[in-house]
Structure formats: C-alpha cells, structure tokens
C-alpha cells in the first residue's frame, strides 16, 4: 500500500513529528489540569464563581482555533516561538472539559458522606483529599480524556503557525495535493488519539470507587 510505504520511507520524520505532537498535547494537557482541576474544585465549593468561570471556559471553546493562534502571535514572549504559542492555545481549549468534569465530579459526591466526614472532625482539606477527590477522580479523568482527544486533533492545526507536530504532513500534503502525505500525518494522529483514549479509559476504570 502506497501510504504504508510512504510512512515507512519517512519513518524518521514521522516519529519525530509524532514526538513533537505528543509534546504539544502532553504539556498543554498537564497545564490545563494544573489550572483546570483547582478551578473546578473552587467553583464546586464557591457557587458564585461557577457561572463566570464556566462561561469563560465556554467562550474560549467557541473561538476558532486558527484565529486563536493568530491572536496570540503578537504577544511578546509567547509569539517568539510557535511551540509556546501552540501549547498555550491548546491549554485554553483543554480547560473546559477539565473544569466542567472536576466541578461535576465533586458536586456529585453524596452530601451524606461529606456530612459524616465533617461531623467526625475532618477538616476541609482532609475532606477534599480523602473524600471528594477520590470519589470524583473517575469523572475528572473522563474530562481529561475528552481534553486529550480534542487536543490531538487540534494540535495538527498548530503546524499552520510553524509549531510542528503531525500537522506538518497534513498541511504539506494539502499543498502537494498528495493524499499519502496527508495520511502520513492523519494516521499517526488518529493512533495517538485512540491510544490516549484507551489509556485514560483504563485508568478511569481502575480508579473508579467501587
């Protein structure tokens, strides 16, 4: 098969771009978790923040990705390197599913369980770490899973601003009107998305409270 041969012939570059892709997606997802999970926890506990935060994350989600990359281009330190810029943009997009699922997961903890914990003298951080987060972890992870799968697809567009990743093959293939080249980017990207989905799905099952 032509595509397979093309990929094999260019396997060094395919691997290199896959690695770049993984880097963009992985780092941005980690950043999104670092911001999104605390935000989700905050809005689950302070109801008045929940509407503005969720609305904000929703609005970010509606900005077309190419436009967001463009908006961020003139920003001083960020605009200097395309990969920084791509990681920030991808972080923004990954926020919504992570914030929303953290919020939903924590809100879904049985109030009776919380009250029992509080009544026995657990303080707020003990309640969070020993009760709320463990009980919400599978819901939070399914948000991370959605974020990852979206990011893998979205990161292909980052090639348009020169951030690298598997999008390079796709854009190149589009320019050359060569499906083999497009697929050399698209197939590894799809495999990445499926693998991420499977791994997090497995984690989710393992960590789900019985």
């Amino acid at each position: 098969m032509n595509v397979a041969r093309y990929i094999l012939q260019n396997h060094v570059q395919v691997l290199e771009l896959t690695w770049e892709h993984l880097w963009l997606v992985g780092l941005s997802t980690v950043f999104a978790m670092l911001v999104g999970i605390p935000l989700g926890i905050l809005i689950a506990h302070r109801a008045r923040f929940s509407k503005p935060v969720l609305a904000g994350a929703n609005i970010i989600q509606t900005i077309p990705s190419l436009a967001l990359f463009g908006f961020l281009l003139p920003v001083p330190w960020l605009g200097e390197r395309a990969d920084r810029l791509a990681i920030l943009a991808l972080t923004f997009y990954a926020l919504l599913p992570i914030i929303r699922n953290t919020y939903t997961g924590i809100k879904g903890v049985d109030p009776a369980v919380l009250e029992a914990g509080r009544g026995m003298g657990l303080n707020e951080s003990q309640l969070l770490l020993q009760v709320e987060l463990p009980l919400a972890v599978s819901v939070i992870l399914s948000g991370v899973r959605v974020a990852l799968v979206i990011s893998v697809g979205l990161a292909t567009i980052a090639a348009a601003i020169g951030a690298g990743g598997l999008g390079e093959f796709i854009f190149r293939g589009l320019a050359m009107v060569d499906n083999r080249v497009i697929l050399a980017g698209a197939i590894p990207a799809a495999i990445l998305a499926l693998t991420a989905d499977l791994i997090i799905g497995w984690l989710e099952k393992r960590l789900r409270p019985s």
């Binding site: 049985d110 369980v113 009250e115 009544g119 657990l122 003990q126």
Partner: protein
C-alpha cells in the same frame, strides 16, 4: 438519671434558637443531657430533632443561645470538638471508597495513632459490634444493611468519644435486623456508658432504648420524660403519639428492661 450537682451535664442547651432556610427551626430550646444517659429526640420530620443533634457537633450554628458540651460553650476548635463526639447517620454515611478497616480507623488515623494501634483498635471495634475480623478488608457496598450500620457504630466509637450522636441510625433497616441492633445497642450501652443523643420517629425504638425521651414538634421541645412516664403522659401530643403507635408499647418497655438486665 438525675443530674449530679458537682459535675456539669454532658450537653446543655440554653435558650437556643436556630434558623435555617429563612424559617425558625428551633425555638427557645432548653435541655440538659446527663453523662451516660441515652436521650431520645422523638418527633416527626421537620420537628427540629436533627437540627438539635447537629448543633451539638456544630454542623449547624445557633442564631442565639448557648450550647455547652462538657461544660464548655463555644469551643473554638470545632475540629477537636467533633473528634471527641461520635457521629452515626444512616448507612450512607460510610465512605464508599474506603474499606471497613479504613472507615473504622478514620478518626484514629487523622489523630495520627500508630498504625499498629489503629489495626488493633479496628479489630477490637469489629468484635464489639459483632462483626467477623475478615469484614475489615471489605468495602461498604459488599456488606448488608445491618453490617454497614454496625460499621457505622464501630467507626463512631473508634476514638472512644464520651458522646455519641445518632441520627436515625436504624431507620433504613428491616425489622428483624433493627431489633437485633437495638438489642446490641443496649448491651453496648451497659458496658460503655456513653452519653448518647439518639434521633428517631419510632416510639417503640424510643421507649426501648431511651433513658429519657424528648418529644419535639415544630421546633419546640414539648416534653421530656422517662419511658414509663411518657406512656402515661397527659400531654396531648405525647398521648397522640402513644395512641398512634397503639398496642404493644408496654412490651417494648419490658423488653428494654430485660435487655438491660436491670429492673
């Protein structure tokens, strides 16, 4: 049980008012609970009995008035106060993601007991509430309702609190299991002498377990009486209760004295 002059009551409510959701849920409550007694808060839903209970471990704060626990009112360290008070609610209060071992060892662990001592204590507690040692490694969802409730009691007793708050602990159980647990509760009380505040709407349970019964209605304390006197009370609400539960109440009393092993 009479209140002795030299030591303060375990729990004391003085002119306590409480509001929740824009309405008064407790009006001018005055009540003393002596050390070692089992005080039953009896009343229908919304009568204020659970509110009264939660004021003791400060899950709720009063609008005005004073609640003294062991003679101390307004203890600043709420967390410390709560760790000294056992709390049992219906079976759903167990942590579903913890094994029985970790559920029972919860307060000892956050109090930083050594691991060895926690394990020994958990086994001791399991035995006390009549559960097999191997139950320790199971999760709450793998237990029957009665077993879960026993674990709830064991968890509340683990750090050896002097006071035990129980909010309809046996409410969701089938009659046979409930009967069993009530009998065990009396046996436990005979050896442990905790100060227990017990919420129920079941008069049978109240008569059987209580040393005194506090009847509540619409946020007010109507009457407090020992079980025998409650049955003969001339208070209209108390006698309405007695009528509603009909025959067989005397036998609940008799059973209770049999179980207590005293006259």
């Amino acid at each position: 049980m009479p209140i002795t002059a030299d030591e303060p009551p375990a729990i004391e409510f003085r002119n306590v008012f409480c509001r929740a959701g824009g309405r008064e849920v407790l009006t001018d409550l005055n009540l003393q609970i002596a050390r070692g007694e089992t005080l039953i808060l009896l009343g229908r839903s919304g009568s204020g009995k659970t509110t009264t209970l939660k004021l003791v471990n400060r899950l709720l704060e009063p609008l005005s008035g004073e609640i003294r626990v062991n003679g101390v009112s307004n203890q600043l360290d709420i967390i410390r106060l709560r760790r000294g008070i056992g709390y049992v609610i219906q079976e759903i209060g167990l942590f579903p993601h913890f094994t029985v071992q970790r559920n029972i060892g919860l307060v000892p662990r956050i109090e930083a007991w050594p691991e060895e001592r926690i394990r020994a204590r958990v086994q001791e507690m399991l035995q006390l509430v009549g559960l097999a040692p191997d139950v320790a490694s199971r999760y709450p969802h793998q237990l029957s309702g009665g077993q879960r409730q026993r674990v709830g009691v064991a968890r509340a007793l683990a750090a050896d609190p002097a006071i035990l708050l129980m909010d309809e602990p046996f409410g969701a159980l089938d009659p046979l299991t409930r009967d069993e647990l009530q009998r065990e509760f009396l046996a436990l009380q005979r050896t442990l002498h905790k100060t227990v505040v017990f919420v129920t709407h079941d008069l049978h349970e109240a008569l059987r377990l209580g040393t005194r019964i506090a009847l509540m209605e619409s946020g007010k304390l109507i009457t407090v009486a020992a079980p025998h006197d409650f049955l003969r009370s001339t208070d209209p609400l108390a006698s309405a209760y007695v009528r509603a539960f009909g025959d067989g109440l005397e036998s609940a009393l008799n059973r209770s004295t049999d179980d207590r092993g005293t006259s």
